[in-house]
């Protein structure tokens, strides 16, 4: 137990250190584009982390988490359009909007179980998708190009790709630590217990719904933060951010890294995006390989790709 904790701390330190050194390596290799790809990876890692909180620890398979990416992204677009460019304001708006949407849809979705829950979260995400598609004030389906990235203290520091990258990294590390704290807290224990055996939790006096809904709201708000970073990275926002395929990809990331493993979620996001990028270069027909890989992982490994390797070794 203690050893596992220490191992996790070492792994986390190494992973974040690697991320921290990446821009320096990229600069040395003369390939600044790496930083751009990596920023995108960080944004998705935040989203995967948030999804893992409810999926891995809460046992709630949300198939509509892309909606929160979109909500976060549109928080940037809408506030920027109104002249508010501050990153803090964008983050705050995204967190509030994401939490609110999660509260409303979660309160209905969590009345259901199993397949119903998967389907209803998917349907709510579609609803959000169509809402933004028909919202012509913000370009509808065409989306909005951001005039500039968010500002910090009125300065346009984030224009520099590396500053944006380190901001995203700082957010990721902060949210990772938050998730570690949450999963180890009283609340986290109730959440995990509910995933294991909801009737047992009721029989000792907990009302699972409240804890699940709270976790759902936290996760939604966190995913919206990822949306803010994604919008800044792409300098562009559109309803395509909340396409249901995106929701599927988020679940894939969490599973690739091994569910209920916060570092795994980050690793899964990294792996999935690199794989996508790499396969797309290898062949036009990359979905063929990606899909096959996905099926193999599901059929032969319980703990994602990391488990696949571990399993091989014995």
């Amino acid at each position: 137990m203690i050893r596992a904790l220490r191992q996790r701390r070492v792994a986390a330190t190494l992973l974040f250190l690697a991320f921290a050194l990446l821009p320096i390596i990229a600069a040395a290799a003369g390939d600044p584009y790496l930083v751009i790809v990596a920023t995108r990876i960080l944004a998705f890692a935040i989203a995967a982390l948030a999804l893992d909180l409810i999926l891995g620890y809460g046992g709630m398979v949300s198939f509509g988490h892309a909606a929160y990416l979109g909500i976060g992204a549109y928080s940037v677009a809408i506030l920027s359009g109104a002249g508010v460019t501050d990153l803090g304001a964008h983050l705050a708006a995204a967190v509030v909007a994401g939490a609110l949407f999660a509260l409303l849809t979660g309160a209905i979705s969590l009345r259901t179980r199993g397949i119903y829950f998967i389907m209803i979260t998917l349907a709510f995400a579609q609803m959000a998708y169509f809402f933004f598609v028909s919202l012509s004030a913000y370009g509808g389906d065409d989306g909005v190009t951001l005039a500039a990235r968010s500002t910090v203290l009125g300065r346009d520091w984030l224009r520099d790709d590396r500053v944006l990258y380190y901001t995203a990294l700082a957010l990721l590390v902060g949210l990772y630590l938050l998730c570690v704290a949450i999963t180890g807290s009283r609340f986290g224990r109730v959440l995990t217990g509910t995933r294991e055996n909801p009737v047992r939790m009721e029989a000792v006096g907990f009302t699972p719904f409240r804890y699940q809904l709270t976790a759902f709201v936290i996760s939604g708000a966190m995913t919206a933060v990822a949306g803010v970073m994604l919008a800044n990275q792409a300098s562009y926002v559109s309803p395509a951010f909340m396409n249901w395929h995106r929701s599927g990809e988020l679940v894939v990331m969490v599973v690739l890294g091994g569910i209920g493993n916060l570092l795994g979620a980050i690793a899964g996001a990294t792996l999935a995006l690199l794989l996508e990028e790499w396969l797309a270069v290898l062949t036009d027909h990359w979905p063929l390989i990606f899909g096959t890989l996905l099926i193999l992982v599901v059929m032969f490994s319980r703990d994602g790709l990391t488990g696949l390797f571990r399993g091989r070794r014995g």
Partner: protein, 388 residues
């Protein structure tokens, strides 16, 4: 000329070993082609790729300079496209990016390309903001401004003296722009105006309303699969007595699936396969021989884009960006469309036609020019363009 696809692995190792690869040296021209090659819109992207490839094979080295062409797929996802665009410009050192097909992708890639010191040439998408207030000296379109096709149909409806036209478009930005464009040049009455759901399958509810109202004509903007559904259901509902005017709804990308259901339906366009110029005849013949399909405007515009680049590089004598932009503004090439020049907003000034779906002697379906509606027509947004 070498036609390659970026290999991430190769690039990654190359950049690690060889250092900066993004150097823009004058003895090599790099063209990135960023099109939708997977997903529901892939058919259009493939046509454009084919058109560009056909021209590239004719040209060889663009402007006499060794040329590398890198083709990438934007997956019709704006954020993916933005990244691929940056990759093309910053990592591969593309001097020119040709793309995209869809307007929503254009919004996502125009900044990464133009701020990365490359030039963006759109073989199809022509959103109003890029033609007007957000016009950009490093952005060119070989296509049209989106509204123009709709304005053609509006003018036609006006000329026909229609008093009562029913309007139909999907509920998204391009759909709303399209109906606005139609009404720019049509002053008669509107029998009804319906925005359908994006990707809608079944149009019977709308068709029932049309049947009940018996308008003089229907104007529809239903690109891709939606157009296939609408056109077939329109015919099956027995409405063919009501003239069907459209834009981007019956063209060579969808006609194989619409076939005789679309016969006699009207469209507005800047071109049709039977446009009578020698260059066009050669292009259509070569294209059909190479790809066994009738080209649509997307293929034609990408074909023109390649020849435009060839001419501009020749005139500029290299890949210097400012010289290239200046050369591009002169449009130093012969378009298959005949007369072609750029307006101050870098959108074409060209002729527009009323087209009609016909079955050719070889049994294939194509659009055919009925009459010229606008001559040397410039879009209405050019006035808003303050290019610096």
């Amino acid at each position: 000329m070498t036609l390659t696809r970026t290999t991430f692995a190769v690039l990654a190792s190359a950049t690690c070993l060889a250092g900066p690869a993004a150097a823009q040296d004058d003895d090599k021209l790099t063209i990135g082609v960023l099109l939708t090659l997977s997903g529901p819109g892939a058919a259009l992207g493939e046509m454009a790729r084919n058109g560009f490839q056909l021209a590239a094979e004719e040209i060889g080295d663009f402007g006499g300079i060794p040329t590398e062409i890198i083709v990438v797929d934007d997956e019709q996802k704006p954020d993916v496209a933005a990244n691929k665009a940056r990759e093309l410009v910053e990592r591969d050192g593309a001097d020119i990016v040709v793309g995209p097909i869809f307007s929503n992708i254009a919004g996502a890639i125009v900044q990464p390309v133009t701020e990365g010191d490359a030039i963006l040439i759109s073989p199809n998408a022509g959103p109003s903001n890029l033609a007007g207030t957000d016009c950009n000296k490093a952005f060119f379109a070989t296509s049209y401004q989106n509204d123009q096709m709709h304005e053609v149909m509006g003018a036609h409806a006006q000329a026909q003296g229609f008093q009562n036209v029913f309007l139909l478009a999907p509920n998204y930005q391009a759909g709303q722009d399209s109906l606005a464009g139609f009404k720019n040049s049509y002053e008669g009455g509107v029998a009804g105006e319906i925005f359908t759901q994006l990707g809608q399958l079944d149009y019977s509810a709308e068709l029932a309303q049309i049947a009940a109202m018996q308008p003089d004509a229907v104007f529809a903007f239903m690109p891709g699969g939606m157009g296939v559904n609408l056109v077939r259901q329109y015919r099956q509902a027995g409405l063919e007595g009501i003239p069907f005017l459209s834009a981007f709804t019956v063209d060579e990308s969808t006609l194989p699936a619409q076939a005789d259901a679309a016969l006699g339906f009207f469209g507005g366009s800047n071109w049709a396969p039977d446009l009578d110029t020698p260059e066009n005849a050669a292009f259509v013949q070569a294209y059909e021989a190479a790809y066994d399909q009738v080209p649509a405007v997307y293929a034609m515009q990408a074909y023109d884009a390649a020849h435009l680049i060839d001419g501009a590089v020749k005139q500029a004598g290299g890949t210097d960006r400012d010289a290239l932009i200046a050369a591009l503004e002169d449009a130093p090439f012969t378009s298959v469309r005949g007369d072609f020049s750029f307006g101050p907003n870098h959108f074409p000034i060209q002729d527009f036609y009323l087209t009609k779906v016909v079955q050719r002697e070889d049994g294939k379906f194509a659009t055919s020019i009925v009459e010229k509606i606008f001559e040397d027509y410039q879009d209405t947004y050019a006035a808003d363009c303050q290019m610096n």
